[in-house]
């Protein structure tokens, strides 16, 4: 049943976010420590374990895939509720600071990528295409 997939997704999300929130409290910071990330790892591990045992049928998977599929519309809605006006009227310093941080971040992506490859250069890098078929 579709609801089983949705429930699995819900339980993983709640567990992950709860763990992240507790971690934050334990460290003493007012932020969720990786809740979404933890939830995602939980879903991957539990999901693949259930798949192997044949517990998770196609109908159940559809429950997860639906929310995965409405991800982009959700993000568009998220964009529509951003404080764009506040960002653009924040003054030249705020804009320069934000832009500089982004430019440096973009520039560091290829640098780190190369650095990571050199540190284990014996490994071939062409591993992408095989799992392309199992897309989100």
């Amino acid at each position: 049943m579709i609801i089983y997939g949705v429930t699995l997704l819900a339980v993983c999300t709640l567990l992950g976010v709860a763990i992240g929130q507790v971690l934050g409290t334990l460290i003493g910071i007012p932020a969720n420590v990786g809740g979404v990330g933890i939830a995602m790892v939980l879903l991957v591990l539990v999901g693949s374990a259930l798949q192997k045992r044949g517990v998770l049928d196609i109908k159940s998977e559809q429950g997860i895939e639906f929310f995965s599929a409405i991800y982009i519309p959700v993000v568009v809605a998220m964009a529509a509720k951003q404080n764009v006006y506040g960002a653009l009227t924040g003054g030249p310093m705020a804009i320069t600071a934000g832009v500089t941080a982004v430019v440096i971040g973009f520039a560091l992506v290829p640098v780190l990528d190369r650095w990571g490859r050199e540190s284990r250069s014996e490994e071939p890098t062409e591993t992408l295409t095989a799992e392309e078929s199992r897309h989100v």
């Binding site: 932020a31 995602m40 997860i64 519309p73 960002a87 941080a101 973009f106 992506v109 780190l112 989100v136």
Partner: protein, 256 residues
């Protein structure tokens, strides 16, 4: 009559949200195909539309939540709220390749630390260029360039003025929105086309809304990889901001 419509739109707010977002999506994919013959991805145009509408909403209402502050369109806030956003992000994780994640593991952590540090340094440098000299203001603005959550959290912890806090939030907002808009256009120049660079990208940029939207507009397959590292970014920033980074700024400015 307006009251009657308002009643419908508040009772069925989420349904209104889905209807409006669906229309934006349809229009954006149509524009993508007609005007750019698919060169600019429909999702990139849709996110841009969302941001433009958010700006208009902000101008009309004077509020902080974009289109959501318009009474008839409050449902956008539910569809694009934290709950559904995180629920959908976790759902995209179902297609993740565990092997890819393991391979990117350590560089993901490096990217996370370097991301917080580089954004902070960028923010501090710009604040210095604009004439700030005290450690508290410099740290708060630097933290704002990390994310718009890290900024006020750090500022509150070290006692920044509300004016500086507002600036740090604005810097974080600019970062988040620029990541949403620019990522699909920059992607091919920085090699953002595989899970490994997506993990690095998520760690370096960190702003979860920026990464979520930027990757969605670039290639939805990359979303879970970037969002996974980005999920730890704000926490890392909140941890480092009022502690290590503030101490470093105290040492540099020579105040105690």
């Amino acid at each position: 009559m307006f009251d009657a419509l308002l009643k419908v739109s508040t009772t069925y707010s989420m349904v209104v949200g889905f209807a409006v977002i669906g229309l934006i999506m349809w229009l954006s994919y149509w524009l993508s195909a007609k005007l750019t013959s698919g060169r600019i991805h429909g999702s990139a145009i849709a996110i841009l539309c969302g941001l433009v509408l958010a700006y208009i909403g902000g101008v009309i209402s004077g509020g902080k939540h974009g289109l959501m502050d318009l009474p008839l369109l409050s449902g956008i806030g539910i569809v694009g709220g934290t709950m559904l956003r995180d629920f959908a992000i976790v759902a995209t994780g179902f297609g993740v390749n565990v092997q890819e994640l393991k391979k990117a593991g350590i560089s993901g952590v490096v990217a996370l630390l370097l991301g917080v540090l580089s954004s902070f340094v960028a923010g501090v440098a710009v604040a210095m260029a604009f004439g700030y000299t005290d450690a508290v203001s410099l740290t708060t603005i630097g933290a704002g360039a990390v994310t718009y959550i890290v900024g006020p959290v750090t500022g509150a912890a070290i006692g920044a003025s509300s004016e500086v806090m507002a600036l740090s939030i604005a810097a974080g907002l600019v970062k988040s929105i620029l990541v949403m808009v620019a990522t699909p256009f920059v992607a091919k120049y920085i090699g953002l086309n595989n899970p490994r660079t997506a993990v690095l990208f998520g760690g370096l940029m960190g702003t979860s809304s920026g990464v979520a939207a930027g990757l969605a507009a670039t290639d939805p397959k990359l979303v879970p990889y970037g969002c996974l590292t980005a999920a730890f970014y704000t926490a890392a920033g909140c941890l480092m901001g009022p502690s290590v980074l503030f101490l470093a700024m105290l040492a540099i400015t020579g105040h105690h």
